[in-house]
């Protein structure tokens, strides 16, 4: 127990003193998670909207596949992307392996199903009367879409929170596609795994605390935003 308390206190000291190594790891993690979430949101939100809104053949199958992808292990995505971007892969010429781009590609694949399925659920829950009201008030198609997305915004924002939480906490993709290169592709989670292997418990705990603080901060921010928006 003393060991845990000592590690915890040392970790807090490390955070308080703004350790440069810790700072770089946190920066890399936040940067990649933010980019991945942004890219996935740009793809996933319109995709979710279209799937929810447009009737088409095979819609149920698409939703079932997306729901299945929610349970996809990160190592499977890591292997899959690795097959494409390794030297022998079809995108091998782009030299993507062990770069931040490789991690972002893997993470985007990981969270697109999350954002898409959450958006589908959020849009499906919106009363059809909103669509009819917007149209009868003279809105064009784009303005009607904006009305529906505005009404579904709480669900869509929730999808972004969940997706961000998923990428900042994942290890498999970052490890397999990033290679855990110090100052470059070392994220909070891969650093934690490495420090644990080395027996350096303090940095691991410090990173764990930062990780939880980031998630907590994100949730406070979005809760505040949602509270404001609900008038």
């Amino acid at each position: 127990m003393d060991f845990l308390i000592d590690s915890f206190l040392s970790a807090l000291l490390l955070i308080w003193s703004i350790d440069p190594e810790l700072l770089v790891i946190v920066q890399v993690s936040l940067k990649m998670s933010a980019i991945s979430t942004l890219v996935a949101a740009v793809v996933g939100i319109p995709a979710g909207f279209l799937i929810a809104f447009k009737p088409f053949y095979g819609k149920r199958l698409v939703i079932t596949v997306l729901n299945t992808l929610l349970a996809m292990p990160t190592v499977v995505i890591g292997l899959f992307v690795y097959a494409f971007i390794s030297r022998r892969g079809i995108f091998g010429a782009f030299d993507l392996l062990y770069t931040q781009k490789a991690i972002i590609i893997g993470q985007v694949i990981l969270i697109i199903p999350i954002i898409t399925t959450f958006t589908i659920t959020a849009i499906n829950r919106i009363d059809d009367r909103y669509r009819k009201t917007a149209l009868t008030l003279g809105a064009n198609l784009l303005q009607t879409v904006v009305v529906i997305i505005r009404e579904a915004r709480f669900g869509i924002v929730a999808s972004i929170i969940v997706a961000f939480g998923r990428v900042i906490a994942e290890v498999g993709i970052s490890m397999m596609l990033g290679g855990n290169a110090k100052g470059f592709t070392r994220t909070m989670t891969t650093a934690m795994a490495l420090e644990y292997d080395k027996g350096e418990f303090v940095l691991s705990v410090a990173l764990g605390i930062v990780l939880l603080m980031v998630s907590f901060g994100m949730n406070i921010f979005f809760n505040y935003f949602q509270g404001k928006a609900r008038v």
Binding site: Y130, L137, G138
Partner: protein, 336 residues
């Protein structure tokens, strides 16, 4: 002519909800669409609001044929606005809800504020300007929806059962607003209702819909019943309340029956009009309806409406609570 409909059909899941041969609506009037639930009133309003495409037939608006696949449909929608039976407001303030149609029409901000304030005053919601739209009651939501519709500066307002889910105070308010917008703003109003009394109070003209079709008779006094034959071969319709009417129909089993209130005779004594279909009841309500008086008679638990011309009514000297006799002649009965 405001609207003209020809052979208009709409089917949902192989069920024909609308099948109209021909129908016309004139401009600058208040028109009432009457009919029981499932008569196709809402579907017709949605077609007339250019929100739902009919499966077959033609619709003309202001003498021009409506093309439901045309991109110009938005121009037509900007002339007609539909207020749904249970209107829904956007998750924002009352002000922003009413401002929305002006915003998408690119009305200058300074003008918007003035118009929104005026409209909210008109519907008696001025003090709720900054309130959250989702915290309003049903009646208040309805009034804001009317203000929102008026902000569109429409030529036509379509209202789906405008007072169905509001209390009496709000009903009176909404009916006053309907009259005002028609008279002062020259906006044509078409509303649906299943309340005959409200329709005759508000509407210049009424159209009766029944099972998706324009009904020839008033189709009031609609009841469910069972047709049975006696040992002499005479057929009777027995209503759920126990009221037994002699009918001549080929149909058997469960049916629906309508008794035309204009043809039902009301007397203070047992009349000699007919040997059958004479029932004793209690006069429970009298309502003034322009050239006629509506009498509601409770016949052993069945509320039966009778429409009496005013001159005939004067001669009857009827009092509420009085025992009366109603006679339903063969011509007044329709079985379907």
């Amino acid at each position: 002519m405001l609207y003209e409909l020809k052979n208009l059909k709409k089917t949902y899941d192989q069920r024909t909800v609308l099948d109209l041969k021909k129908l016309k609506f004139e401009k600058n009037k208040v028109l009432g669409l009457l009919g029981p639930n499932g008569a196709g009133k809402t579907t017709l309003l949605e077609i007339m609001a250019f929100l739902t495409k009919p499966d077959a037939g033609d619709l003309w608006f202001e003498e021009e044929r409506v093309n439901f696949t045309n991109a110009k449909l938005i121009d037509l929608r900007r002339k007609v606005v539909l207020i749904q039976q249970q209107p829904i407001l956007f998750t924002t303030t009352v002000f922003k809800n009413v401002e929305y149609p002006l915003k998408i029409r690119k009305t200058p901000i300074s003008e918007r504020k003035k118009i929104v304030k005026e409209l909210l005053e008109l519907v008696g919601m001025g003090m709720f300007e900054h309130a959250s739209a989702h915290k309003l009651s049903g009646g208040e939501t309805h009034r804001v929806a009317i203000a929102q519709a008026l902000a569109c500066l429409p030529e036509v307002i379509l209202m789906d059962e405008p007072t169905a889910s509001v209390d009496v105070e709000n009903q009176i308010n909404i009916e006053r607003i309907i009259k005002e917008i028609n008279l002062k703003k020259n906006i044509s109003v078409i509303f649906t209702t299943h309340n005959m009394i409200q329709a005759s109070r508000l509407a210049d003209e009424t159209v009766f819909l029944f099972e998706g079709k324009v009904a020839q008779s008033i189709y009031e006094n609609i009841f469910s019943g069972q047709i049975e034959a006696d040992s002499n071969g005479y057929k009777y319709c027995i209503l759920h309340s126990g009221m037994k009417l002699r009918v001549s129909s080929q149909k058997t089993g469960s049916i629906r029956i309508s008794i035309d209130p204009c043809m039902v005779k009301l007397n203070q004594k047992e009349s000699g009009h007919s040997m059958y279909n004479c029932f004793k009841g209690t006069l429970i309500q009298l309502t003034d309806e322009q050239s006629r008086v509506r009498a509601l008679v409770d016949v052993a638990g069945t509320p039966l409406s009778v429409l009496i011309p005013k001159d005939v009514f004067k001669g009857l000297h009827l009092d509420l609570g009085e025992k009366v006799w109603v006679n339903c002649p063969k011509e007044s009965i329709d079985i379907f």
